[in-house]
């Protein structure tokens, strides 16, 4: 106890009377270490998190309803829809009908009937344009032309990756039609049924479910794909506030709707590989960040070592007048703790007050997502703990090395 008191006094006074610029420099190094630890993994995880957020916002929403495993479609879809309308927690929903078709372009200009047709296999989604807009804000993804008008027929929104011009950056991995622009005619074929559509707009997003899709009004979808039973393939739901989805799902289940379809929250419905990638990136980020910890701990070690070495005689005298070694070591641990605490506090401030809001507003543009910075408080806290403990050890070790030396040798400066 006495050692702690004396160590605290010595440590605090050494901090208080140290050169302010040196102290600031050390705190700055600790802050950078903290940021390295948090931000590197945060950006890596943020790449996936950004993609996930986009998928949630633009495609599958907070709750996703799909056909039961033993059925092809959602049963009693109209009944389902009426029930959904009764939930105040649900702000929007979209009923989607999905199928695959062949789209053909440039057929009017085709002169050589024996030549290759300009066709592509496409995914087609039948939507209520108003519902879909409320649910996923699809019009925001229209990069050329306009969004579907609910009162019109004969128009199609074509996913950008089905057009040669937009998909050329990806090589030949997608089937595309060439030279298609808003206003052009395309022919959609399913089985024996073909219908001509005018391209109303091109939709492009970092969410593949949008860019690799084509949208037509559900009335026309049912006609082209001969889907007259009104049973949909997917219903996606947006709730008032994220976090309410478990409660809404429970209500839907208790209303017996799980007899007609499979009801999943976003977290349940998202592909497992997303979680796996996030965890992998997290580990990778932690590994990279841990190199920062090693560098910081060596920095602290050197700083404390030089500090203690330059005070070796003073340490000897302190021991000479009866101050126990533990008190002297504790004084240096206090200094290391001070650097770690203030550096981390500054790092946390920069992370949560500056970087996260900044990246939320200005995401990093990656080809497959808009990357943000993710720093879960719990994970940050554990990383801080690791940094803190390692810094304490980096402070203790040099102090121990110097303080354990023979008292008289320290006083006289002998080796």
């Amino acid at each position: 106890m006495q050692s702690l008191r004396v160590g605290l006094l010595l440590g605090l006074r050494q901090i208080q009377r140290a050169n302010i610029w040196t102290t600031l420099l050390i705190i700055f190094v600790m802050m950078l270490t903290f940021l390295n630890l948090i931000a590197v993994s945060g950006i890596l995880v943020g790449l996936i998190e950004g993609a996930e957020r986009a998928v949630r916002a633009e495609s599958i929403g907070d709750i996703i309803i799909s056909a039961r495993d033993d059925e092809d479609r959602i049963l009693e879809t109209p009944t389902f829809e009426r029930q959904l309308q009764a939930f105040p927690e649900i702000t929007a929903y979209s009923i989607r009908y999905e199928d695959g078709g062949i789209i053909e372009a440039n057929y009017e200009e085709r002169r050589d009937l024996s030549g290759e047709r300009d066709i592509a296999s496409v995914r087609v989604t039948g939507i209520d344009p108003v519902q879909e807009e409320l649910m996923s804000n699809l019009s925001k993804s229209v990069v050329a032309g306009e969004y579907l008008d609910p009162d019109e027929e004969g128009f199609i929104l074509l996913g950008a990756l089905y057009t040669e011009e937009y998909a050329e950056n990806f090589g030949d991995i997608f089937e595309t039609v060439s030279g298609v622009e808003p206003g052009d005619k395309v022919r959609l074929t399913s089985g024996n049924i073909s219908k001509e559509f005018t391209v109303k707009g091109i939709v492009q997003s970092k969410v593949d479910e949008v860019s690799l899709n084509s949208y037509i009004p559900e009335r026309e979808f049912r006609r082209v794909f001969e889907r007259f039973d009104r049973n949909a393939d997917q219903i996606v739901i947006r709730v008032v506030e994220q976090g309410m989805e478990d409660g809404v799902k429970a209500s839907l289940v208790s209303a017996g709707l799980d007899d007609f379809a499979k009801i999943q929250t976003y977290d349940e419905g998202k592909p497992k590989f997303i979680t796996d990638i996030k965890n992998t990136f997290n580990i990778l980020g932690t590994f990279i960040g841990s190199i920062g910890i090693v560098v910081a701990s060596i920095t602290i070690f050197i700083i404390i070592f030089i500090n203690a070495l330059s005070r070796r005689r003073q340490i000897g005298i302190l021991k000479g007048i009866g101050i126990q070694r533990q008190a002297i070591e504790f004084a240096y641990v206090i200094q290391a703790a001070f650097y770690a605490l203030f550096g981390s506090a500054l790092g946390a401030f920069v992370t949560y007050v500056i970087l996260i809001p900044y990246f939320d507003e200005n995401p990093i543009k990656f080809p497959f997502s808009d990357g943000i910075l993710v720093a879960e408080p719990e994970g940050t806290f554990y990383r801080f703990l690791v940094l803190f403990v390692i810094t304490l050890l980096a402070g203790l070790l040099p102090a121990w090395l110097i303080a354990k030396q023979n008292t008289l040798n320290s006083i006289l400066g002998r080796k």
């Binding site: 008191r5 006094l9 050494q14 009377r17 000479g320 007048i321 009866g322 008289l408």
Partner: protein, 228 residues
């Protein structure tokens, strides 16, 4: 009654064949309340002898009993604790902690002894007052003259009321006026409070207030001069 009893003290440094034999069988006895000086030329072994007597070093051979306690077999922690509770030190170059002010320098050993904070401050101020530095409690060592720093060092040494005060050439880094003041201070501690003092000095003038002077030469005490 002897408060320090050292018998056949040897101190060697280095390893065979390069051994330096600094103390060659020294016997010393100091009575409680006595003021003794150790004098000798440079290299005579006077400081080495003081380090043995003040439990800062361990003799290669021989036995030392201080205040009835045999210190030879103590562990490092026990020796540190013994120094804290029994001995006081004044070093050549003041040896104050530069980050602590005068008051904190003095109260640190008191805190280490388990005295509470308020009481430590009271005792520290009393000790600083007693060496003639009233009101200089918040001054950092850098704000004090050499003589004043040495006074703070004396205050630190006596604040815990040690059984024995060791002073290792306490005037070495002081001008003659400050040096005399420090010697007068140490002498008055012995005269007024019967403080046992062991002082190393190479200036006879400063040793004249002592009871006895041990004269050393080549690692042995060659003469004990009785002054009082």
């Amino acid at each position: 009654m002897a408060i320090i009893e050292a018998k056949n003290i040897h101190r060697r440094f280095g390893e065979e064949p390069l051994v330096t034999h600094v103390l060659k069988g020294v016997d010393v006895s100091v009575e409680e309340g006595e003021f003794v000086a150790i004098m000798g030329k440079s290299g005579a072994g006077k400081s080495t002898l003081m380090y043995q007597l003040s439990v800062l070093d361990e003799p290669s051979e021989g036995s030392i009993t201080i205040n009835g306690v045999t210190v030879d077999t103590m562990s490092e922690t026990e020796r540190t604790e013994f120094r804290l509770n029994t001995l006081g030190y004044v070093f050549q170059d003041y040896a104050l902690v530069p980050d602590l002010n005068a008051e904190e320098n003095v109260l640190m050993p008191l805190l280490m002894s388990g005295v509470d904070w308020d009481e430590s401050i009271r005792i520290a101020r009393e000790a600083i007052d007693s060496v003639g530095l009233e009101g200089k409690y918040p001054n950092l060592p850098g704000m004090l003259s050499g003589g004043e720093q040495q006074r703070v060092a004396v205050a630190r040494a006596i604040a815990g009321k040690p059984k024995i005060l060791f002073a290792d050439e306490p005037t070495a880094n002081l001008d003659s006026v400050s040096g005399k003041q420090i010697i007068e201070l140490i002498t008055s501690l012995n005269r007024d409070y019967q403080q046992t003092v062991v002082m190393v000095t190479h200036e006879r003038e400063y040793a004249l207030g002592c009871d006895r002077i041990f004269h050393m030469e080549d690692g042995v005490i060659v003469d004990v001069e009785q002054l009082r």
